[in-house]
């Protein structure tokens, strides 16, 4: 939709939204040069940070799970990690492995959702996933089957797929029966095949030739492709504890936006699949590395449009890793450690499907939360997404409104801002002066 005069034009990109008015993109062009790009994203974590104050530490996993219906496990397990850090608890290996299995389920379902239903239509000249499904139902059915497998893992370990109910600080409310976990092997084997077919499929898309100079940040987890824990590392040599990372990564308000913008040592950075791949690709199992080579990827990928290939590889990895965890599963006994409150500050970090997620809590001697900080991937990636958008707009000033709008939306989709954590309703405003 376009409004405008000779000097000003406005393009509204209205997405499907159950809650509207929470995201906007403003671009100002002066004398043919882009002078401002502002992506304004509404962030539910700010509300939850305030709501958590005064609540008992044991409530944090279930409360923060409600921040996002797509990645509740990320919020639950990051909250657990932070509270266990604050209370000095180290969970058993069996608990940690079961958490990793649960997280694999979330990676599978979340990445399948994004790859098939939100991102792939961009490359196939489809308006949306519905059009793609009507044109090629077998492809979409493969994506939905992957999503169902991810949901199955989450339901088996977490009690249910949307907002799992079996996670607690110190472990789980109950450990799944070995037979229930073993029953996941068949679906996961089929999902691995489907994931590898997904890699082949998306690798064949035509990608715009775009390269960006990203500063990557991802977790490194003792010899494994990081999911459920690790130390934050960057592509320019940073290697710090989660607590130190929380000090270095500063979120700030900027006047033109209601969203927080995170900077690391004063500069922008990118978390998520591209970052994980660049920093940890050597930790992929051979089956996934082989698929990456066959897809034409090197040791790093700096074309944001190819993030869809990385997500497909991560689906394959999550299936393979889940199969390994299923094969070695032994129920944790007890299912959860007893956690005794003490005054302190704790920091937790994990790799949510969209990128690094950080929780930090201060609790008092009674276990009540005094201060909460939740730094989602979207706020950390915000500045980098804006930098990508600036390049897209600069390269597309000759496009008409509809095409420029579409190109901008693609640039945002490349980084998969969370449906719930990020923009529900994108208004794109281009002002020429």
């Amino acid at each position: 939709m376009t409004h405008g005069t000779n000097r000003t034009r406005t393009v509204n990109a209205e997405g499907i939204a159950r809650v509207e008015g929470e995201g906007s993109l403003r671009v100002v062009v002066h004398d043919g040069t882009v002078s401002e790009v502002s992506l304004d994203i509404f962030e539910p974590p700010r509300y939850f940070e305030a709501m958590l104050v005064g609540r008992h530490f044991s409530e944090a996993p279930d409360i923060t799970a409600r921040i996002c219906g797509i990645c509740p496990v990320a919020y639950q397990l990051t909250a657990c990690a932070a509270m266990e850090d604050a209370t000095g608890i180290v969970v058993s290996d069996r608990v940690q492995l079961l958490r990793r299995l649960l997280y694999c389920g979330e990676w599978i379902q979340s990445h399948a959702l994004h790859v098939y239903l939100l991102h792939a239509p961009d490359f196939l000249n489809c308006q949306d996933a519905v059009e793609l499904a009507e044109r090629d139902p077998r492809v979409i059915e493969r994506g939905l089957a992957l999503k169902r497998t991810g949901n199955l893992v989450m339901e088996t370990v977490g009690g249910r797929a949307v907002h799992p109910v079996n996670v607690r600080v110190g472990g789980f409310y109950s450990a799944p029966e070995p037979a229930a976990i073993a029953a996941l092997a068949g679906p996961l084997e089929r999902a691995l095949d489907a994931a590898l077919a997904t890699v082949d499929w998306v690798a064949g898309f035509d990608f715009p030739e775009v390269t960006s100079s990203y500063r990557f940040v991802a977790l490194r987890q003792d010899g494994r492709y990081a999911i459920d824990a690790g130390r934050p590392r960057s592509s320019d040599g940073l290697d710090v504890t989660p607590g130190h990372f929380a000090e270095l990564s500063v979120e700030e308000h900027v006047a033109r936006s209601t969203a927080l913008h995170a900077r690391l040592d004063g500069r922008s950075y990118l978390t998520g699949p591209l970052a994980r791949y660049a920093l940890n690709v050597h930790l992929f199992p051979e089956v996934v590395r082989h698929a990456a080579r066959a897809a034409g990827l090197g040791e790093t990928c700096v074309n944001p449009f190819q993030s869809i290939v990385i997500r497909a590889l991560e689906i394959a990895f999550a299936c393979d890793e889940a199969l390994r965890l299923v094969a070695q599963y032994e129920p944790p006994v007890p299912a959860a450690d007893v956690v005794i409150a003490r005054a302190g500050v704790g920091t937790g970090v994990t790799e949510a499907p969209r990128g690094l997620l950080l929780h930090q809590y201060e609790i008092d001697a009674d276990g009540n939360i005094v201060r909460a900080r939740i730094m989602p991937p979207t706020s950390q990636n915000q500045l980098t997404i804006e930098e990508d958008l600036r390049r897209v707009v600069e390269g597309g000033l000759d496009l008409d409104d509809d095409n420029l709008q579409w190109r901008c939306e693609q640039a945002v989709r490349n980084h998969d801002p969370c449906i719930s954590c990020a923009a529900h309703f994108l208004d794109l405003q281009v002002v020429h002066s």
Partner: protein, 160 residues
């Protein structure tokens, strides 16, 4: 006679004022003794995929904004006709964000996984901001929404 496969789902967020009415009605209904599947609270229509596949009847309780008086309860049948339309009530899918209910139904139909019937029990709301409370008019409409769900199921079972 084989039992009907019926799913009842509440769509919405517990933290967004009137948006919580769907999950609330579904939760209250789940405590009743109907032989239906409770699929838990869902926040996005996409969450229905894999949960309403091929069932005889899927009932979705959801808050809506249509300009009707706050608390109005309506029962809307989303049939093949609606799903084929570029429905003016829900624009076609664009942008970075989710897919609406009609889009999800069309997608499910394309892959042969649509429910035989999809009925929306829609409750008109007004407050959807994060952290807002449920409107009194919406809260007062909960019994009517529950009754609508119950009536739909009893009617379906009688017709079977």
């Amino acid at each position: 006679m084989s039992p009907l496969d019926i799913v009842v789902a509440g769509l919405g967020s517990a933290y967004r004022g009137d948006d919580a009415v769907g999950p609330l009605v579904a939760e209250l209904f789940a405590s009743a003794n109907f032989d239906v599947r409770d699929v838990g609270p869902l926040e996005e229509p996409l969450d229905l995929l894999g949960r309403f596949d091929g069932v005889d009847l899927a009932i979705v309780i959801d808050a809506v904004r249509s300009g009707a008086p706050i608390g109005t309860v309506r029962v809307l049948e989303l049939d093949a006709g609606h799903a084929d339309d570029a429905s003016p009530a829900e624009p076609t899918v664009t942008s970075t964000h989710g897919i609406g209910l009609v889009g999800v139904l069309r997608l499910a139909r394309a892959v042969g996984r649509a429910p035989r019937r999809l009925v929306v029990v829609a409750v008109e709301g007004e407050a959807f901001q994060l952290g807002s409370s449920m409107s009194e008019a919406v809260r007062a409409a909960v019994p009517e929404a529950l009754f609508a769900v119950t009536t739909l199921i009893e009617s379906e079972q009688q017709c079977a």
